[in-house]
């Protein structure tokens, strides 16, 4: 008999596959071995990872030094890391048994765990958690050194991955290994992992809370994303029914593609710019000529899944690929936006220690602190932009001062390029992301200093409403139509119109077809969204009458009742 589980769909459609359970917290006890000649390197690798988590602990301890009970707790943690006995055993196992450091640690942990099982004192027994935490961080570190993730080791074709939580890095791995879909028991629809999976057309259902308890390996799974349900072990009838829908949707998509050929004009003749967001440069291949340019290329994915930083040369070749594919259309390259929930390479340590990364050193704040990384990226952008239509977009701007400092750094980059006698562009547009309410409120003034603005609705909503979109407890309060949010968006659009500069919405809202008319009504004439959303959104735009909508929008801005607002929006 089939079982139905509810969840939240990240995209639409039907996905059919076989389940594979991934437990990120599980330690892999299966031994792996090294060659005798590698003993020294492996021992060093172990000691280095130990030293690096020790350093991390010390740093975090320094940050909380005013909280005495906490620092005492951290001290105890440090004793675990410094445990001579533990170190000796691991090194012995590497030397004598030729285990990899990972295996040696896992095996040692197993034996420690066994000893703790015999302990009767509950209070002492609980401390196994501290040891497990240390072991997990060690294993994580050793794994990322080897650039391998759990997903890289297994075959994922036709598989639906069932797991607790997923990172953007995991999504890329699963996509590259041709996994069919992902079901997570936690998470949210607007996390970066979800956004990424949407843009890669990787079906994902999040917050399917009981999925890990109910689903077993190799169960047949149907993900019905339109109805936000998962069917576990469907019967023949159900399977045939959903296979039917799947092929029907496929032909529907084909017909929607015809919309793409038409000019993007509204019913009353207003030209609307429809651009595409890009996560991975490889995606650009699937874009063909269906959009008016790239409204947002999130360059952080260039920095992920690796242990070194992308060089100027490497970045140039990636950006050039995007420019080439887009021919002469504008390409908006956003400078590195790390921090928050984006997990980047181990060279860029930010946010992993910060208690509140969304309010921490992210976006331009990080770039201004790590000038070298920023400088390299800007140089690559300016060089790749030679004879191309380059737009540079700066994330997480909060104040005019940051814009001025950013311009100084860009000028420095140009001076260096001149000295190096490199060809680069001087004709580019510089724009800022509007994500912080402070920035939206100053839009009139800031508009005088930049060439365009791009509204990142997800973060703008998160910072305006003080809602962490990944926090399950409050994610239902995340409301894109809140009057405060809408009036900020309206204000930014008006400020840009006054200064005659471009303004685009590039957040999730731009690709959400239920908000298309609302945004048109607020005066927006440029959208940037994940490529899969373009046909449906464009279809709505072609059938919209802006004059009519504008008359109805004021009532929405004035309504404080979410239910009523949503009704008004759907009637636009």
């Amino acid at each position: 008999m089939s079982i139905i589980i509810k969840g939240l769909s990240v995209s639409t459609g039907i996905c059919i596959g076989k389940a594979i359970l991934i437990n990120k917290d599980d330690i892999n006890y299966a031994p792996s071995f090294i060659k005798k000649s590698q003993v020294k390197i492996e021992t060093k690798r172990f000691l280095r990872s130990l030293a690096s988590i020790k350093e991390e602990y010390k740093k975090s301890k320094e940050k909380i030094k005013d909280n005495l009970p906490m620092t005492k707790l951290m001290d105890t943690q440090l004793f675990f890391i410094e445990d001579q006995d533990f170190q000796m055993h691991i090194i012995e196992m590497i030397e004598n048994n030729l285990y990899t450091a990972n295996s040696a640690i896992a095996i040692e942990y197993k034996s420690i765990k066994k000893s703790f099982d015999d302990i009767k004192d509950k209070y002492i027994k609980e401390r196994l958690i501290d040891i497990k935490q240390m072991v997990m961080s060690l294993l994580d570190l050793l794994q990322s050194n080897k650039k391998e993730s759990i997903y890289s080791k297994i075959s994922l074709e036709n598989k639906v991955i069932i797991t607790d939580e997923i990172t953007p890095k995991d999504v890329i791995d699963i996509y590259q290994k041709q996994g069919s879909g992902v079901i997570t028991s936690h998470g949210s629809k607007s996390s970066h992992a979800a956004i990424l999976s949407k843009s890669l057309s990787l079906p994902m259902i999040v917050k399917a809370e009981s999925s890990k308890e109910i689903i077993r390996d190799n169960d047949n799974i149907i993900m019905d994303l339109d109805n936000e349900i998962i069917i576990v072990n469907p019967d023949q009838f159900e399977l045939e029914y959903f296979e039917g829908i799947q092929s029907h949707r496929y032909s529907l998509q084909k017909s929607l593609r015809k919309v793409l050929k038409k000019k993007s004009l509204t019913n009353d003749g207003v030209k609307i710019n429809i651009m595409s967001n890009l996560e991975l440069s490889d995606e650009v291949k699937f874009l063909n000529n269906d959009c008016d340019g790239i409204g947002l290329y999130r360059t952080e994915y260039l920095y992920m899944n690796r242990s070194d930083l992308p060089s100027e040369k490497e970045q140039i070749s990636v950006y050039t690929k995007v420019f080439k594919a887009m021919k002469n259309k504008p390409v908006t390259l956003r400078t590195l936006d790390i921090g928050s929930d984006k997990e980047v390479s181990e060279n860029i340590k930010v946010g992993d220690i910060a208690k509140n990364p969304a309010l921490g050193l992210r976006g331009i704040r990080y770039s201004l602190a790590e000038k070298n990384i920023f400088q390299t990226q800007i140089k690559a952008m300016l060089r790749a932009g030679y004879n191309n239509s380059l737009r540079i977009l700066i994330p997480m701007i909060t104040s005019l001062n940051e814009i001025i400092k950013t311009k100084e750094l860009i000028n420095n980059a140009k001076l260096e390029l001149k000295k190096e006698r490199k060809k680069f562009t001087n004709k580019y547009d510089l724009g800022i992301m509007i994500e912080v309410p402070a920035c939206a409120l100053q839009a009139d003034e800031l508009a005088k200093h930049v060439d365009f603005m791009s509204i990142g609705t997800n973060d703008l909503i998160q910072y305006t409403l003080a809602i962490d979109r990944i926090d399950d407890e409050v994610s239902s309060l995340y409301d894109p139509t809140n009057p405060a949010v809408l009036s900020l968006i309206k204000k930014v659009i008006e400020s840009c119109n006054k200064s005659k500069i471009d303004v685009t919405v590039c957040g999730e809202m731009a690709g959400e077809k239920s908000y298309t008319k609302l945004l048109l009504g607020l005066g927006l004439e440029s959208f940037s969204m994940h490529p899969q959303a373009i046909p449906e959104v464009k279809d709505i735009i072609l059938n919209s009458n802006i004059n009519k909508i504008k008359r109805k929008v004021n009532a929405i801005l004035k309504s404080n009742d979410r239910f009523l607002r949503e009704k008004l929006i759907s009637n636009l």
Binding site: T76, Q84, D85, F116, D118, I119, K120, D121, I124, R127
Partner: protein, 89 residues
Amino acid sequence: MITKDLQVLNKLGLHARAAAKLVFIANKFVSDITLVKDNKQADARSIMKILMLSASRDSIINITVEGNDEIQAMNSIEKLFQNKFDEDL
């Protein structure tokens, strides 16, 4: 070499923080310091091994110290046990 039986007097027993204190003191000396309880043995420099002794309140631990500063080391450890690891009310 000096050997002594010491009793764990604090309420929570030889738990993580108490064990950490013992490791901290042991690290100040060069002598080898070994703890034995119910056939289980632990190096005083290994917090994990000390925890594995599972020494709750009132248990007796046999302590052996051997080395150049064994007298001072034993004195410090004895004091720590007597002071209930500086934590009881």
